[in-house]
């Protein structure tokens, strides 16, 4: 415990998320699979990945990968907002009778709603700007 207290100051959200990202990169992804982003038409070089990013395998490799990542992120917005709202609810529950703790939970809830509205607007804008509705591709 003594040794743990010494290193406790390094246990903040930045180091924890960094450690999570590094451990995800070293996750034993199967090497037997190869996924292709972009096609080899028009003298372009397709990009091969060992993780399935969700590419369609057509058109420009960079655009294909970018759209795949946009699809990936917009699929996760709902889950992340539910996660954060549940944490806000737990904060509200354990606030007992202190108004400050209740205000913190309310602040988190309002932030979640703002984030959801911002995502919906951005999604609508992207669907409006990009022809063809590739976002479901």
């Amino acid at each position: 415990m003594k040794h743990f207290n010494k290193y406790k100051k390094y246990l903040n959200k930045y180091t924890v998320s960094l450690a999570l990202m590094v451990s995800m990169l070293t996750f034993p992804f199967s090497q037997a699979f190869a996924y292709q982003c972009g096609s080899s038409d028009n003298n372009q070089t397709p990009v091969t990945t060992s993780i399935d990013l969700g590419c369609t395998g057509q058109g420009n490799p960079i655009l294909d990968m970018a759209f795949a990542i946009i699809r990936f992120l917009s699929a996760g917005v709902g889950i992340v907002v539910v996660f954060s709202t549940i944490i806000a609810g737990i904060q509200y529950t354990v606030s007992r009778d202190s108004p400050e703790a209740t205000a913190k939970a309310k602040g988190r809830l309002v932030s979640n709603i703002i984030a959801l509205i911002a995502f919906l607007l951005a999604y609508a804008l992207l669907n409006f700007l990009v022809p063809g509705g590739f976002l479901h591709g």
């Binding site: 993780i51 399935d52 889950i79 709202t85 549940i86 529950t93 999604y123």
Partner: protein
Amino acid sequence: MINHIFTTFADSCSFSGGAFLTLPHWYQYLNGILDSHNNCIPEVHKLTDIWLILLAVTEMLLQLVAFITIIIVIYGGVMMLSSQGQPDRVSKARTTIINAIVGMVISISAAGLIAFLGDQIK
């Protein structure tokens, strides 16, 4: 309905027992294969599998919300029982219980609200 949105993703490696309380495994919604000891080895080669892991963690949190709410409501009830009719202590206990229930309603309605929104968008 909340059960429904969390079970539509279940595919292979169906689980029976081995979980702590009724919490799901973190790899509950991933595809997987059984090894010789009947353990499930989850397969991860899609980027969107990250969301399935987060989904399992969210389901664990939803169950923890219920546990925490019960504990806080009992705590508020004991406060109210031992208040001996003093108005400030009674009102404190009442606020505790109301906050606990409001928090539970926020958490549970979040899952339903997002499921509704997701259906509207898709």
